[in-house]
């Protein structure tokens, strides 16, 4: 560390993406420079457009007081999902670029190796930390407190701070497009390549601090969710009455709490190596880079279960709802979820079978990895039995769920193959592995999140999404996925290493092209998704579901209006069985006017979230560019803000019983005026959110 760095640290003109192209205008430099500059301009233009629109429509104040400072778990959840969708768009475009490069990659291609390396590093980092994580955190945030009949999470302001940290990390990755270059070390940034000797630029620093911020945010989120589920359940909501999505949220939260610390340690140690010349993972003076692999995967493997468990929860909800049946094998699903959560901590070594430890260790971890197949298999059967003799409705969330079941089983199978160390030795570091983890991550996690998006969107915004374009998008996702990744299995067995920018084997070309076309179809899927959102907003008046139960839902998040009031429930429900809302509808107590209402206490808005977001972003930016005055300033500001928050006392506000009564009556009036519809009409505009009562699984 050089304390006497210039005031702007290592920031220079050459940090801009078009600098190389102007200085050394070779053909390769120009192509790469144009792509990088195009991406950077998109970020800049996007940011400017946002500022202009907010100013033009005078939305700054509402943005600040209704959204950014809001401690409401529903709004925080929505903001998480917005981050996830923006980041999804970026990382997906990068994926298409990479597949395009490989399609033309016979003996060259159009991207420079460094540019290609940046693409796969950012793609992986974003998809895991800034797409999947915010998406699932957002969905849990929105849905879980309502499912357990709570008014909010246990620590609402902490929730807002977690969002701020995640947003700061995402912003850091976005800024790396404009200023400087991101890491080329892959999403797991193995040293010694990422050490200062071999990667002297700012890339790994961007990676380190983006992950540190996201990791810290996730730890806090995990604590918040776990405590919420332990402490805030409505009366009568016993453990075995909780909806399965809440169970998966709990297990995910527990994994977050215990799996994030190893990541924090690994990135912090790498940072100490890079900034202060420590020797954790260096080649010289007793450093041991294998420690990093171990630490990183101690986090990394539980992480994939953090991602997949909530998706399992979503499928449990959608399959049960759209089959019109109670979930089959609830207890076994709960047990399987817990088993997966625990086993996830015992398999991390299978990410480095080939590192050189002895065969016994490989065997133990190989067997442990295969064991995970058992509880997962139990779940698959439970879902199929849930559909059995149900009246399955092929809505968009259900199509995603069906695509998941078929494709995920295939991905799981290739996982069992890879869990065998002897096979792993053959295919490790080939695109076979890439095919495997995309085969579980895309149909598993992403389809799950998109299923959740379509399922709960009407609850969050009060109108249904366009069904037709949703279906087009879902089918494009499913078939695009098949096209993009199944060829990679074959390519992997044919010996194509992952992360190769170019190759010399002509027989790879047809399969590479197939994968490229698949990727293009996925791009179409994304565009269809955006088009669907636009159409749905345009036609929202025809698709309102204010009454709040458009899909004949089974759990408590459907037991209020759409969108729900900020306090969720006018009266905290009393739970007497599983599928609480279905039970309430059957007993005719779903839409009652209580005799008395009471004042409801809610947390006041707090600027802590946005403040921490701004401070931590500036802190990380200062660290990346060695701008020490900024680092010190932000560090002090962070401490000061926490102390100030500690001294804050006036943090609660009251929603008067009068207002609660008014809002509740307005909703019940709407219920009374609504016509209950049969499931055959649920995707038409007669659906205003009131479901006709039908017996389980019977054709009406």
């Amino acid at each position: 560390m050089n304390i006497v760095d210039p005031p702007l640290g290592r920031l220079q003109w050459s940090s801009l993406p078009f600098w190389d192209m102007l200085q050394h205008p070779t053909k390769g430099n120009i192509i790469n420079g144009l792509i990088a500059t195009g991406a950077a301009s998109l970020v800049v233009i996007g940011a400017i457009a946002l500022v202009v629109l907010l100013t033009k429509y005078k939305l700054w104040r509402p943005l600040w007081s209704n959204w950014l400072t809001s401690p409401d778990h529903k709004k925080i959840g929505i903001m998480y999902v917005v981050i996830a969708l923006v980041m999804l768009a970026r990382a997906l475009i990068e994926a298409v670029l990479m597949r395009g490069q490989q399609a033309f990659g016979l003996g060259g291609g159009f991207l420079s190796p460094e540019h290609f390396a940046q693409l796969f590093s950012t793609h992986g980092t974003i998809m895991i930390f800034f797409m999947a994580m915010p998406f699932l955190t957002g969905v849990i945030n929105y849905v879980m407190p309502m499912q357990i009949g709570a008014r909010d999470v246990s620590f609402p302001v902490l929730n807002s701070i977690s969002l701020g940290l995640t947003a700061a990390g995402a912003a850091l990755v976005m800024v790396s497009l404009v200023i400087g270059k991101f890491s080329t070390g892959g999403w797991f940034g193995y040293p010694p390549y990422t050490e200062a000797n071999f990667s002297p630029g700012v890339g790994p620093d961007y990676w380190i601090w983006a992950l540190s911020l996201a990791g810290l945010g996730s730890t806090l989120t995990g604590i918040n969710f776990a405590v919420t589920i332990y402490k805030e359940r409505a009366p009568g909501m016993q453990w075995m009455r909780m909806p399965l999505f809440t169970w998966t949220a709990l297990c995910t939260a527990i994994i977050m709490i215990f799996a994030m610390p190893p990541l924090t340690v690994a990135t912090a140690q790498l940072a100490l190596d890079r900034y202060l010349g420590f020797h954790y993972f260096t080649n010289a003076l007793g450093g041991n880079m294998m420690n990093f692999a171990n630490l990183f995967w101690l986090f990394g493997h539980p992480e994939v279960y953090i991602l997949i468990l909530p998706a399992f929860g979503v499928y449990s909800e959608t399959i049960s709802t759209f089959s019109g049946k109670a979930l089959f094998g609830y207890r076994s699903l709960v047990m399987a979820t817990m088993a997966i959560a625990l086993l996830s901590f015992t398999v991390w070594l299978h990410h480095f079978f080939t590192m050189g430890q002895n065969a016994n260790i490989n065997a133990v971890f190989g067997i442990a990895s295969m064991l995970i197949g058992i509880p997962t298999g139990v779940k698959i059967y439970d879902w199929m039995w849930t559909m059995f003799r149900g009246r399955v409705r092929f809505t968009v969330p259900m199509v995603y769920a069906l695509g998941f079941i078929v494709l995920f089983v295939l991905g799981g199978m290739s996982g069992i193959l890879l869990a065998n160390p002897t096979i792993d030795y053959q295919v490790h570091n080939t695109v076979f592995l890439v095919a495997h983890f995309h085969n579980v991550a895309v149909p598993g996690v992403l389809f799950g999140m998109l299923s959740a998006y379509h399922f709960w969107f009407p609850k969050a915004f009060g109108f249904r999404l366009n069904e037709r374009w949703g279906m087009i998008s879902a089918l494009c996702w499913i078939f695009g996925f098949v096209g993009a990744f199944f060829p990679l299995y074959a390519l992997g067995i044919m010996g194509l290493p992952r992360r190769t920018v170019a190759y010399t084997e002509a027989r790879y070309v047809p399969l590479e092209w197939m994968a490229f076309l698949g990727a293009l179809l996925i791009l179409v899927a994304l565009l269809a998704l955006l088009w669907q959102l636009w159409l749905s907003i345009r036609d929202r008046a025809d698709n309102r579901v204010f009454v709040g139960d458009p899909w004949a839902g089974r759990s408590l998040e459907w037991a209020n209006s759409a969108p729900p009031p900020e306090y969720n429930f006018a009266v905290i429900p009393q739970i007497e069985s599983r599928d609480a809302f279905t039970a309430a509808k059957e007993q005719g107590r779903a839409y009652l006017r209580p005799d008395t209402y009471v004042d409801i206490e809610l947390p006041k808005n707090s600027a802590m979230g946005p403040a921490i977001a701004a401070i931590s972003f500036a802190l990380a930016f200062g660290l990346v560019w060695h701008i020490w005055w900024l680092v010190i300033l932000c560090f002090l500001a962070a401490i000061a803000s926490m102390i100030i928050r500690g001294f804050a006392r006036d943090t609660r506000r009251i929603v008067s019983a009068q207002q609660v009564r008014q809002e509740h009556h307005r909703w019940i009036d709407a219920v009374d005026q609504a016509t209950a519809i049969s499931r055959a009409d649920e995707c038409t505009s007669v659906n205003v959110g009131l479901a006709r009562q039908e017996a389980d699984g019977v054709v009406p």
Partner: protein, 207 residues
């Protein structure tokens, strides 16, 4: 105190504190969960230290650098501070005068600061003997583990000062009480981590 009255693990305010005790349930449980996450953080740093024990790369090792007398004094200081914080907790729980509570807290702070002073002195004498973190993998691991604990103690000290400030400003309202209780957990937890440090790092290093 009856079994039912206990709303949350460990240290309790007790039913005499009414709504403050009610509020403690969620907050204290949340803090316990945080501590467990923090414990994993320390555990991973310990694991790094243990796996780097022999990575001295020809530089100074434990016997050249550690000073058992100083570590013993630090241990005693921290242990005493745990006890004095216990006394502060009693003063809070049994509603003694505020001065008594603040007194015990200040004593704890003084002991904590003394601990940090000795620790810094240890580090500087290690530096003088060539034991700087950039010398070897072993020393890097040492300077990850022990100062991490020291940083936690520092954070605890700052928190303690803020809490005294809150007592003076607002008296013993719910938020202050819960703050003191959480700091108590934090402080005792750090003492437990220190047991692991003096055993694994110093005593085992000097055998």
């Amino acid at each position: 105190m009856s079994e039912q009255a206990i709303k949350h693990p460990g240290l309790n305010l007790g039913p005499a504190h009414g709504k403050d005790d009610e509020a403690a349930g969620t907050v204290m449980f949340g803090f316990w969960v945080f501590l467990m996450s923090d414990a994993i953080l320390f555990a991973m740093v310990f694991a790094t230290y243990v796996t780097s024990l022999h990575a001295t790369a020809g530089g100074p090792g434990p016997r050249d650098l550690y000073d058992i007398k100083s570590v013993f004094i630090e241990t005693m200081l921290l242990l005493a501070s745990s006890f004095t914080f216990g006394m502060a907790s009693l003063a809070l729980k049994y509603k003694h005068r505020k001065a008594r509570l603040i007194g015990w807290m200040v004593v704890t702070l003084v002991l904590g600061v003394a601990f940090l002073g000795f620790e810094l002195h240890d580090f500087s004498s290690m530096f003088v003997k060539g034991g700087v973190p950039s010398r070897s993998g072993f020393l890097s691991a040492f300077f990850d583990l022990v100062p991490l604990h020291g940083l936690h103690v520092t954070a605890g000290g700052i928190w303690l000062i803020c809490l005294v400030g809150q007592i003076v400003r607002y008296g013993l309202d719910t938020k202050t009480k819960l703050g003191i209780m959480r700091l108590a957990l934090f402080w005792h937890f750090l003492d437990i981590v220190w047991i692991a440090i003096f055993s694994v790092v110093y005593l085992a290093g000097l055998t």
